[in-house]
Amino acid sequence: MNPGEPLIDFGWIAGHLDDIAQRIGEHATMTVLAVGIGFIISFALALLARNRRALYGPIMIGADLLYSIPSLAFFALMIPFTGISILTAEIALVSYTLLVLVRNIVTAFDGVPREVIEAADGMGFSRAQRLVRIELPIALPVIVAGIRIATVTTVGLVTVTSLIGLGGLGYFIVTSGINRFFPTSIFVGVAASVGMAVLADAGLLLLQRALTPWARARGGTG
């Protein structure tokens, strides 16, 4: 940064809109992939923990251990095996989503009232039908709350992948920002990733409200 230079160079931003759009796309793809795969794994683990309660403790200890590894170290631990690739980033990012997702999904299913489950059984629902048509809708608000936390966290963590030469908005923060003493690029990277986190959070909340209109009508958890 040189004296007399404006703090934010709007000309640079205007000239790099394509580049910014491309990095936003990369960033969003990596986030959606991580949360999506993380959700599928977590849902399976949560169902397993529900059927065999003794497994819940060990699953959470494992998820907690993965969560305590700093992100740069996690990426680095994978590099010798999966190289500098999206796979390296995703293994770490998916691992981080497990703690909050498994916990919220299990808590959500635990919150389904016993009478409701008994009523469903009495009406002749199979276990799969009961899960999809009765338990899942009731559990949805707490599950979505978990997805929101996992998404906001992942958006932030994707920026760190720029340190191992991967894409995403971290490129603007580190490579073309800090490394070149160019604050405009840092602001663009941070603002875009904060904006993406806030929008995703609000979008998921709206989606959940649209899917569970009764929760709001009752003044419940919506």
């Binding site: 305590s68 700093p70 740069l72 170290a73 680095a76 906001v152 920026t159 340190l163 580190v174 904060v194």
Partner: protein
């Protein structure tokens, strides 16, 4: 298996334990940055959380700030502080990281301290007042001891977060163990990448365990965490 031999060889090589890029030097940098940042974070967060929890004023503002803080990525926080620190003409790498980490350390301390004090049974506070305790005694001898499990949980969350994020100081030239990972990635030295990442992961686990032990050791007798009192989920970086 050959790879793990190379990793072992990296640990056995005396060159990796000496000089600027030796593990001891980078570890000391890591701990100095983390310790300074955590101290500043506690000096700001604890009084703030106690004030909000005791008076009930400013809670909404504090919780909103904490939520906004969670949306700012830790790397972004370091990036935002960096140009400001450079403008001040002080050692950029060290202070950019310390200020960013201190800012990240404040929210968990404030929210947990506030939650701990808020959850103190109103009847207990009332009895304290009835016994003629002044506000300050009430805080020091009733409210804070009862809230201690959550307050310590907040400090532990911040400490772990700070030690983990200090790894990223390498981007602003602040050193720390992250430097060894970064150099390894740049030079394609995979044994070094893996070995130094192991050291970082180990440091994170040691920090977590150390603060867990501290939490247990400093808990006053007769006070155990209530089953319902869950700390706020810790952030990840």
């Amino acid at each position: 298996m050959e790879f793990f031999g190379e990793v072992t060889a990296w640990f056995a090589d005396p060159a990796n334990w000496m000089g600027r890029n030796g593990v001891p030097n980078r570890l000391v940098e890591h701990l100095a940055i983390s310790g300074t940042a955590l101290s500043i974070g506690l000096a700001i967060g604890l009084p703030l959380g106690i004030f909000i929890g005791h008076t009930g004023r400013g809670a909404f503002l504090a919780i909103s700030l904490a939520n906004v803080g969670r949306a700012i990525p830790s790397l972004g926080m370091i990036g935002l502080v960096f140009p400001m620190v450079l403008a001040l003409d002080i050692p950029g790498g060290f202070w950019s990281t310390v200020i960013a980490l201190a800012a990240l350390a404040v929210p968990p301390v404030v929210t947990n301290t506030y939650a701990g004090l808020r959850d103190v049974d109103a009847d207990i506070i009332e009895s304290g007042r009835g016994m003629g305790m002044r506000e300050r005694d009430l805080l020091a001898r009733v409210e804070v001891p009862i809230a201690l499990p959550l307050i310590l949980a907040g400090i532990r969350t911040s400490a772990v977060q700070v030690v983990a994020t200090a790894t990223l100081a390498v981007v602003v030239g602040g050193g720390t163990l992250g430097t060894l990972i970064y150099i390894g990635v740049q030079t394609g030295d995979e044994p070094q990448v893996f070995a130094s990442a192991l050291v970082v992961a180990l440091l994170a686990l040691v920090t977590e365990s150390a603060f867990a032990l501290l939490q247990r050791a400093t808990l006053p007798r007769g006070i155990r965490p209530r089953p319902g009192a869950q700390p706020v989920l810790r952030p990840r970086s």
